[in-house]
Symmetry: C2
């Protein structure tokens, strides 16, 4: 038997996703649950990052992960093995999550008593940026092999994110990736974005990233 | 002055994209122009691959490239510098191209006398797979850093492709990527898919890839 549920989420019948997202944020605020929307390209390292995050924060707060995928449940398996609660959301071919789909996932999950819920969005730099999920903060992972020009090509994604993790720093020597140029492109789109270079494989940068998240979760809980 | 046009393409008002795509393919057949739809995640190496392809095939056939991007024209600049005709299609936030958008691009481009036109689709493994562009064949690039499990997570993309290029073979030693497992996952979705490992940076695998394309272009021209 699987240790996690698989939920088939459906697109909202509500027209006003923004209002729905704002209402969901209010509910999360009253429950004291911090919801982080995590976005990236396919294969940027969302699940590997989360496994290390759970290992570092799992003792001090209760963490749940909602894994959105078109199909398959390999990520929910990995998160469950890492020791956090997880559910798998199947989007049925949808390329993003909206607030209603997020609500369906949270409702099945049951967030009571959870301090931090991470929504691992569909691997896609385009559509997820267009829909407010109701999350308290948006994070994204850009990985070194993808190239430093991605903020120019996917401007909305970089505009909506509070924090950008630059992952796979361990392979930086093997790629033409200019970190200063990348930061400049990100800040051109979003001057407030916090940029943290990390290696989910080796652990570099996690002290800063975990501290950022710790402070956000504490501030949300009030 | 720029050496390439920038076109703002709009979504079709036609409901029946499949019929529109089939009609476009007929027109391309009568003109003897082979249209290749090239898809991948952001940063998998589409433009780098094309630059090498143009260098290898540019003497024996007339090549044009249509670069689809939400914003920016860095790719069209790169292709023009490589010596092929290029236009930039701005999708205005759209996450994919359909047959109507492809037709707008081809019409502005003028395909008369072109043997091969490559449509570099929006970097996205989800939405582009859902829309027939009217292309004669579909190709995709999966890059080693993205991981060998992508065919499990983005099944439709792998189902619709005639050829899958596994790029960035030059960095294989630095990643946990199991080529045999990846091929098995691809063929589980699509037993007919041709899989060619390449390095767009170093040139490995290009003899096989260029030969595949040469034969397809010749067969299409009849």
């Amino acid at each position: 038997m699987k240790e996690f549920k698989v939920i088939e989420v459906k697109r909202s019948i509500l027209e006003d996703n923004d209002a729905d997202a704002a209402a969901l944020r209010e509910e999360l605020k009253s429950q004291g649950t911090f919801l982080l929307n995590l976005m990236s390209s396919p294969g940027a390292g969302k699940t590997t990052m989360l496994k290390r995050l759970i290992a570092m924060l799992g003792e001090e707060m209760k963490i749940g992960v909602m894994e959105a995928d078109i199909d398959s449940d390999v990520d929910a398996q990995a998160i469950t093995a890492a020791g956090a609660r997880a559910i798998q959301l199947h989007t049925g071919g949808m390329c993003h999550l909206d607030a209603s789909m997020t609500r369906q996932g949270l409702s099945e999950f049951g967030t009571d008593g959870l301090d931090l819920v991470v929504l691992e969005n569909v691997g896609n730099l385009v559509c997820p940026a267009e829909f407010d999920t109701g999350a308290c903060k948006n994070a994204m992972i850009l990985s070194v092999p993808e190239g430093d020009d991605k903020p120019l090509k996917y401007p909305l994604m970089f505009s909506v994110c509070d924090v950008v993790l630059i992952n796979k720093m361990d392979v930086l020597p093997y790629f033409d990736f200019d970190m200063e140029k990348c930061k400049e492109y990100i800040h051109r789109r979003n001057p407030q974005a916090k940029v943290i270079p990390i290696s989910a494989k080796e652990g570099d940068g996690f002290a800063e990233w975990v501290q950022w998240l710790r402070e956000e979760v504490a501030a949300w809980a009030g």
